[in-house]
């Protein structure tokens, strides 16, 4: 709880820091809200997938490459092979399921370390993306696809935000209200205890891998719709870091069993907002990474210090 409030205050602080730098008039503030909501929503959705997997004690390093592969398949399919958008979407979501299944099966049935499996994935999907596109860029024009995944809705909010809200509700029900989520926490917290409780551990772990890959696939649609073109050799690189970082900043522990939906979304928002702050405060380009990293670190330290000053917890 305390953690969530801390995150929320940090996020609000960052938002205000951006806000004061947005000149008034000309709808600037609305436009900026839309831009930020868009990015926050995109990262938030993929962080929810990554976070769910982390809660279940897993990890996926291939998120970025896999989303790059999906974006490439989408763009190449629609641009060069004449797939209709629904067809392309179906293919990519199918890929999400299949890849998640493969990761999950390798980790559970063959007991390979998740780190190795998804690191191999990181390389393999990047290679496949380049190969599929023949090392050439691919892109899409304006149209139905762009509207479906990157447009302002009647309320002035971007459609991505609507997806985030839906995803948040779904993941909230799943993780924090349903038995499935309960099992994921139990597995992440103590796999043996879960097993001894008669939970089909493997099945739920696989499920978590599928969820993670599915959100990455979904991200690829929003990404392509927003930027319209992809360069297969680097699209999505580092996304896994951002997605995992969002979840971890939001309170997920890489040891598993910890974290919640609101925290994850706040974590992802903080990452997005930090980038915006750097942009709006004219931080020198060369120092911008240092500023983001520094702010994140200061935030984490503050959080810890504040929590310590509060009443002593039961933990020794």
């Amino acid at each position: 709880m305390k953690k969530l409030i801390g995150l929320l205050l940090f996020a609000i602080g960052l938002y205000l820091a951006v806000f004061v730098k947005v000149p008034e008039g000309n709808d600037n503030r609305t436009k900026n809200n839309v831009n930020m909501a868009r990015r926050m929503s995109q990262l938030g959705i993929v962080s929810l997938g990554a976070g769910t997997l982390i809660i279940a004690g897993g990890i996926d390093l291939s998120i970025g490459s896999f989303m790059g592969l999906c974006a490439t398949v989408l763009a190449v399919g629609m641009q060069r092979q004449g797939w209709s958008p629904p067809q392309a979407i179906a293919v990519v979501l199918g890929m999400g399921v299949v890849v998640g299944l493969i990761h999950g099966l390798l980790v559970t049935k063959l007991r390979l370390p998740a780190f190795i499996v998804t690191l191999c994935g990181l390389f393999i999907y990047r290679g496949l993306a380049r190969w599929w596109a023949g090392d050439a860029n691919a892109g899409i024009g304006p149209g139905m696809f762009k509207r479906a995944f990157s447009e302002a809705t009647p309320l002035g909010l971007p459609v991505e935000f609507v997806y985030l809200v839906i995803a948040a509700i779904v993941f909230y029900l799943l993780l924090q209200r349903s038995i499935y989520g309960r099992y994921l926490y139990a597995i992440g917290s103590n796999e043996l205890a879960a097993k001894y409780s008669g939970i089909r551990v493997d099945r739920y772990k696989i499920f978590a891998y599928v969820l993670c890959s599915l959100t990455a696939a979904f991200y690829s649609m929003m990404h392509l719709a927003e930027v319209a073109s992809v360069s297969p050799s680097n699209v999505g690189s580092m996304l896994e870091l951002y997605a995992i970082a969002g979840a971890v900043i939001g309170g997920c522990s890489l040891r598993g069993g910890e974290g919640n939906v609101l925290g994850i979304i706040l974590g992802a928002s903080i990452l997005t907002l930090l980038q915006a702050v750097v942009s709006f405060w004219d931080v020198p380009q060369s120092l911008e990474y240092a500023a983001i990293g520094g702010a994140l670190l200061v935030g984490a330290i503050m959080d810890e210090v504040l929590r310590r000053r509060g009443p002593a917890t039961a933990h020794g």
Partner: protein, 502 residues
């Protein structure tokens, strides 16, 4: 009727079970006893579908059964409460109790009903587990965790319930309560298998006792025939001086010595009304009793420097010690055998040798290199002394039986030379034979001038080995009893908050 017929099971280097038979009928309490490593837990795991036997059959109501998973055994109504606690620490008490069987709403959505908390509270009340169902398991004391495990099994509505040492961290009071529940279950027609090293409990509770020795059947006694002597001779196959009693002369000899340990106003929690003060004399064995959650473990951890001391002083042999970390304590000669062997006592993936060497390596070798020979010799010596049942000292500790693991925890510290030895439930899960050895070791250390403080929930043990008994109640020292004053009633009186003389 649940039957195991000619069941065998081997592990690399160990034949855990050979042709073992066991039956339990509905409405019957069958106790299973045997030395550490006799194969009790292995047999129970086989019955509960955790492990698969190499040979032999299981039958339920005369029909042969074969469980592919824990889940399948639970479906058949057979539930095991494991010897080693297995709780999801991140989840709360209610979630752990109902894990895998949450009361649901919303059909296929599988949403969890908020009824879970009231349902949990009901079961917890039955067992006398006095914490909030929303409390995180990570915040509970070991005894409380053990009750959570038991509550989980009780909620299962099973036909056969297997308790693998359920009372090893419970105090007399919770044990009594548990017995009431178990007798109730028997009356409801549940068949019960009960494992314990506390022979008093076995005598009090069981209809029948099955004895295992070295993985074989070594006796099947009806209630009428059960006596300590009968059990022990079947368990260990030899005569044993049946129970340890501290020598009266030793008590007298220490009574006049100058204290070597002075604890003054020690506090570790802001909610404590007053600090804790007491003295220990060299050569003295002092027992510490109290109810579950009375704060005995916390006190020991504070003295050892693992838990932050908020106030107070600790003086060892005339020197004030500034105990800020466990390593300082160890240097000052304060050693702690912790209560939770798997979490605090052992590196479960290390071999026996490596665990035993861990606290002593730095002490042994000035060059900071691992002295493997000495490590090897020490662990072999301790293996024999403590009768650790293992193929070799390179065995991974996690694969030992519960009691043998506990012996390794003790062994770790016996390689050092303490001034103050803190023992937190040192005989938890240890068989009678080895218990006697442990008391003997305590006695020997005391003779060398060490002050021994032993926390125990087993009143019989406390009464048997202590020169003096400290009793804790709600994180306070409720009183001190001399050997003459000490009776079970007197201890319970103090432990439950009655006023004492101190």
């Amino acid at each position: 009727m649940l039957e195991a017929v000619a069941v065998s099971k081997g592990f690399p280097g160990v034949q855990a079970l050979s042709d073992v038979n066991l039956t339990v009928a509905p409405g019957e309490i069958v106790a299973v006893v045997g030395e550490n490593g006799a194969g009790k837990s292995t047999l129970m795991k086989i019955l509960a579908g955790v492990q698969v036997p190499d040979a032999g059959t299981l039958r339920l109501n005369a029909r042969e059964i074969r469980f592919a998973s824990v889940d399948a055994a639970q479906q058949a109504g057979i539930v095991l409460i494991h010897q080693e606690l297995n709780l999801a620490e991140g989840l709360d008490v209610a979630a752990n109790i109902f894990l895998g069987r949450e009361p649901r709403v919303g059909g296929p959505l599988g949403l969890i009903s908020s009824r879970i908390y009231s349902d949990a509270a009901t079961i917890m009340q039955r067992l006398g587990l006095d914490v909030s169902p929303r409390a995180a398991v990570a915040d509970l004391s070991l005894g409380q965790r053990q009750l959570v495990e038991i509550a989980r099994a009780l909620s299962l509505q099973s036909r056969y319930l297997i308790f693998d040492e359920p009372t090893s961290s419970l105090t007399e009071r919770e044990t009594e309560r548990l017995f009431t529940v178990i007798r109730q279950l028997r009356a409801d027609g549940v068949g019960i298998l009960y494992i314990s090293h506390r022979l008093k409990e076995v005598c009090a509770l069981s209809d029948r006792v099955v004895v295992l020795r070295d993985g074989r059947n070594a006796g099947d006694l009806l209630r009428e025939d059960v006596t300590h002597e009968a059990l022990i001779s079947r368990m260990v196959g030899r005569e044993l001086k049946q129970f340890f009693h501290r020598d009266q002369a030793a008590t007298l000899a220490t009574a006049s010595a100058e204290p070597i340990v002075r604890v003054r106003d020690v506090r570790w929690s802001a909610s404590q009304k007053a600090g804790i003060s007491f003295d220990l004399r060299p050569g003295e064995v002092v027992g510490m009793a109290g109810l579950m959650g009375a704060g005995r473990t916390e006190l020991a951890e504070t003295l050892f420097g693992i838990r932050r001391r908020l106030a107070g002083t600790v003086e060892i042999a005339g020197r004030m010690i500034d105990v800020r970390s466990a390593s300082n304590a160890v240097e000052a000669g304060v050693l702690l055998v912790p209560e939770d062997r798997r979490r605090q006592g052992l590196v479960i993936d290390f071999a026996i040798r490596e665990n035993i060497g861990l606290p002593s390596l730095g002490h042994w070798n000035r060059l900071r290199m691992v002295d493997r020979r000495r490590e090897q010799e020490t662990s072999l010596m301790l293996r024999d002394k403590l009768r650790i049942r293992t193929p070799h000292v390179e065995q991974i500790v996690g694969l030992l039986s519960g009691g043998n693991q506990q012996k390794v925890v003790l062994g770790k510290w016996l390689a050092r030379e303490p001034k103050l030895l803190l023992l937190d439930e040192p005989t938890r899960g240890v068989d009678v034979g080895a218990k006697a050895e442990i008391y003997e070791i305590m006695n020997e250390l005391a003779k060398q001038g060490v002050a021994v403080l032993m926390i125990s929930s087993d009143l019989e043990e406390i009464l048997g080995v202590s020169d003096r008994i400290l009793v804790m109640h709600e994180q306070q020292l409720a009183g001190t009893l001399t050997r003459e004053q000490a009776t079970e009633q007197a201890i319970m009186h103090l432990a439950t908050g009655g006023m004492g003389n101190s």
